[in-house]
């Protein structure tokens, strides 16, 4: 795949600032302090493959639900505090910790999210979600919606302002004039060097890392792929240097700054590559001096449950439940009001089951989860649940709200009020924050 002309459209965004109306020195694009304008972090958990929203947030009073789901319908959902749930929805039984969090008033359930002319392709619909271009023009090579946010705020100044945790970079973070770091684990981008190299660490002696970064010339020609690689190498080494200062497991970590007890305790429980592992790492980053504005967790499971859903989906939801709990347990109480966690997925699933699973769907429910303080999420239900009787021609749900309202809500958490430069239009945030 060619990389396209990176900066043609980006130039128009490059100098705009859409943080607070009167940006202080600390929040301008080239300011030295690139911590989030409000000291807040937005953590996004991508449920790749298309999470089955109807079996996540279960309708209680609609008989059609069990007609459509004769074998996969959730028969014993967890009932929620009726003051917050309206006695209309329950949660899947694999989400007990989330249910308790909902009842404590810290979970917003946002229903009916989608876009016109729904694309039932994973890759088509992800292109739309990643780029925030609803139903038209979402495609490869362009900027992601969070990349567009970074283009207008941090640029290339702070490679840790946005951190992806997962097997590869998320297109949502792809900027035209910015850079996001992607890591897969907590070792701080530490390579395994061959023994014959006789270098004890990447930083030892005349630093191999430094030599590697010298491949980046002072003037990079970004119009060529070679130039883009040169720049990526330099930014990778910079990200690595910064990570070494903040991650306790990084090889050159500053050992005077121990991991918090919360992170240690949770990491001991979740060592494998799971959503909990990634979210504990997210929690470590949130409380570090890196103070990322955005952490984007992807690659946490295969939610594409065309078959075997009765076993696969509950397991995935349980991992999500564990992960959200581990994330907040790993954070000191004082920081619970600094973070909000939000789910995304390329689509929901077909209301009618196919015998052992569900095929690709459209509108979906998402979660915005706050910590246990009073400053985060105002729990409850937002948006409108889609009708199970008025389905579209393919038998799918008709959305009631544009998915970019979810993004507008996340951006509001980051201090962005005018979303049009990022989302193509000004979308109304759901009033989920205190």
């Amino acid at each position: 795949m060619g990389l396209g002309t990176a900066s043609a459209v980006g130039a128009a965004y490059g100098l705009s600032v859409w943080g607070p109306a009167e940006p202080s020195a600390a929040t301008t694009r080239h300011g030295s302090n690139v911590a989030s304008a409000r000291g807040k972090t937005l953590v996004i958990v991508e449920l790749g493959g298309g999470n089955d929203g109807l079996n996540t947030v279960v309708p209680l009073n609609d008989n059609r639900y069990h007609d459509l789901r004769p074998t996969l319908g959730v028969t014993e959902p967890i009932l929620l505090d009726t003051k917050l749930s309206g006695d209309e929805v329950g949660l899947h039984p694999s989400l007990p910790k989330l249910a308790a969090r909902f009842d404590r008033g810290n979970v917003a359930i946002v229903e009916g999210l989608g876009y016109d002319d729904a694309d039932l392709s994973h890759f088509g619909s992800f292109a739309i979600w990643w780029s925030a271009l609803g139903g038209a023009g979402g495609g490869a090579g362009g900027a992601g919606w969070l990349g567009a946010y970074l283009d207008g705020t941090v640029g290339f100044d702070d490679p840790l302002a946005a951190i992806g945790i997962g097997p590869g970079p998320s297109p949502a973070l792809r900027g035209r004039e910015s850079f996001a770091t992607t890591i897969a684990n907590d070792n701080g981008l530490q390579p395994r060097l061959p023994s014959w190299l006789q270098v004890s660490s990447f930083e030892a002696g005349e630093s191999l890392a430094q030599e590697w970064s010298d491949f980046t010339p002072s003037q990079v020609d970004e119009s060529t792929l070679l130039g883009q690689v040169q720049r990526a190498i330099g930014l990778t080494v910079k990200a690595r240097t910064n990570l070494a200062k903040v991650l306790s497991s990084a090889a050159e970590s500053d050992t005077t700054r121990p991991t918090t007890a919360g992170v240690q305790a949770q990491r001991a429980r979740y060592q494998d590559a799971s959503v909990a592992y990634s979210l504990v790492l997210a929690a470590e980053l949130v409380q570090s001096s890196a103070k990322p504005r955005i952490v984007y967790v992807n690659g946490v499971g295969d939610f594409d449950t065309h078959e075997g859903q009765s076993a696969r989906h509950p397991a995935l939801l349980q991992q999500l439940d564990d992960g959200i709990q581990a994330f907040f347990d790993a954070l000191p109480a004082a920081q619970h009001d600094d973070v909000v966690l939000m789910t995304v997925s390329e689509f929901g699933r077909r209301p009618a089951e196919n015998g052992s699973g569900t095929d690709h769907g459209t509108a979906n429910v998402h979660l915005i989860v706050g910590g246990d303080g009073d400053g985060g999420v105002r729990g409850g239900r937002y948006g409108e649940p889609p009708s199970l009787t008025s389905l579209d021609r393919a038998g799918n749900l008709v959305h009631s709200a544009d998915f970019r309202r979810l993004y507008a809500t996340g951006l509001q958490w980051l201090g962005v009020d005018q979303t049009s430069p990022i989302l193509g239009d000004d979308f109304e945030a759901f009033p989920v924050f205190h």
Binding site: M1, P167, S356
Partner: protein, 443 residues
């Protein structure tokens, strides 16, 4: 950007193989000679060693795929049939099937044999074979696709990714029609219920078979044609649609040329391709396009971790020593197992997330900027573990930069790269930095 003749020759070999061995590049005098050499299939085809079929679904562990991966990497490193290796990789990526879901290495091993046998043959044959391939039937849920309970997974991905392409002119109704047509195929899993019956019906262990009563034999309307299509019938309808040939031709163009084919070119190449579905015919037409050897095509792709691995293995030897003098990937990659752990080469590929037979999803392996994340870039260092000992150094000690980069098939070197490599006086580190250079990161 000016491109030297040597770089252009290397470009041709890189794109038409899985790695440009420096001795081979050195022996070629022109890009045209390189094309002729790369497309030469006169040498005998390598024979994939057989794998013992497991006696049950649970007998094998995923790690049992390692010998197959090692053998395959060895072919990338040594096979004289250069274009075959490129095409085998291309079709594996195109008909992406993951061990993570299929779970039984034997099925992926057998699929590899099928891909290899058909990679340079007819696309129509390959498509029909892949649709009935047991690993594919497991991966995209063909085995649960039956009348009354139609599973759309294969039908959708077949139209979107394997044939017409997104925006190729099919609708959701076509997805349903194709899925209905493909219903009724199952795999004979030894030890499972019905295995004996399926054997009686003619399916060998781990073979696929059509079971009429599971098939939706009703009339369908697919891409404007009506009929009681079955799997083969539906694929023929899909092959007749002009989008299919154009989409596949456009994708192969991107693979070989590294640039996007304009609509006219994709149409021209595709319509020609649709006459006989000859994959080698399409390859020949594509490399005959002036764009293939144009300056814009050179270094327009990000080199994949697997290509880097082959390149590092090649570069480990001194000129004239032969392609396996430093390391034989068949041996080294096969040894990358200690107990239940994958180590060395396997661990490096796992860390980067680029393991043959384990594409991250049905659209295949990451490419372009999705390979340039800090995690993948920094762990490219890990690939150097493929060399068991420090790379050979010429009599002069630290290599001349041009000679060193030539071992990696790189001939045009930027000033910044030259400066870094000239300054380094330790041969092992110099070699390592060459492997980590921006020039080697692209292809």
């Amino acid at each position: 950007m000016s491109v030297s003749t040597r770089e252009r020759i290397s470009h041709v070999v890189r794109r038409l193989s899985m790695g440009a061995h420096p001795d081979l590049v050195a022996a070629l005098e022109s890009p045209d000679a390189a094309i002729a050499r790369a497309l030469d299939l006169s040498a005998a085809a390598p024979v994939l060693p057989s794998m013992v079929p497991p006696s049950s679904y649970d007998e094998q562990q995923p790690i049992d795929i390692v010998p197959t991966i090692a053998w395959w990497l060895g072919q990338m490193q040594t096979s004289p049939r250069l274009i075959e290796e490129r095409l085998v990789w291309f079709w594996h990526d195109h008909f992406a099937t993951s061990l993570a879901k299929v779970r039984v290495p034997y099925l992926l091993h057998q699929q590899h044999a099928t891909v290899r046998a058909l990679a340079t043959g007819s696309f129509a044959d390959l498509l029909h074979a892949m649709a009935k391939d047991p690993a594919m039937l497991g991966y995209l849920d063909g085995v649960t696709n039956q009348v009354e309970n139609v599973n759309e997974n294969f039908g959708r991905e077949c139209l979107e990714l394997f044939t017409m392409g997104i925006g190729g002119g099919y609708t959701q109704d076509d997805v349903v029609a194709a899925s209905r047509a493909c219903s009724g195929w199952v795999v004979n899993v030894p030890g499972r219920r019905f295995s004996a019956r399926l054997t009686e019906l003619g399916a060998g262990p781990w073979g696929s078979i059509f079971i009429p009563f599971r098939h939706d034999d009703g009339e369908k309307e697919l891409l404007g044609q009506r009929g009681a299509f079955d799997l083969d019938g539906a694929l023929d309808v899909i092959l007749e649609h002009p989008s299919t040939a154009r989409y596949v031709a456009g994708k192969l163009y991107r693979e070989l040329v590294g640039l996007e084919a304009d609509d006219q070119t994709a149409k021209r190449l595709g319509d020609d391709f649709a006459r006989d579905w000859s994959i080698m015919g399409l390859v020949e037409s594509t490399v005959a396009e002036p764009a293939f050897t144009s300056n814009a095509a050179v270094r327009s792709k990000v080199r994949t971790p697997v290509e880097k691995l082959v390149g590092i293995a090649h570069a480990g030897a001194l000129p004239g020593e032969g392609s396996t003098a430093a390391v034989d990937l068949r041996v080294v990659a096969g040894r990358s197992r200690a107990g239940d752990q994958v180590v060395g080469v396997g661990e490096a590929l796992r860390t980067i997330g680029f393991i043959p037979f384990v594409p991250p999803n049905v659209s295949g392996f990451p490419e372009g900027t999705l390979l340039l994340g800090p995690h993948q870039l920094v762990h490219t260092f890990d690939l150097l573990q493929v060399l068991p000992t420090a790379p050979a150094v010429g009599p002069g000690g630290v290599e001349d930069v041009d000679a060193l980069m030539a071992r990696f098939g790189v001939f045009d070197i930027t000033k910044s790269t030259r400066r870094v490599l000239e300054r380094e006086r330790d041969p092992g580190r110099q070699f390592t930095l060459a492997a980590m250079s921006p020039e080697f990161a692209v292809t």
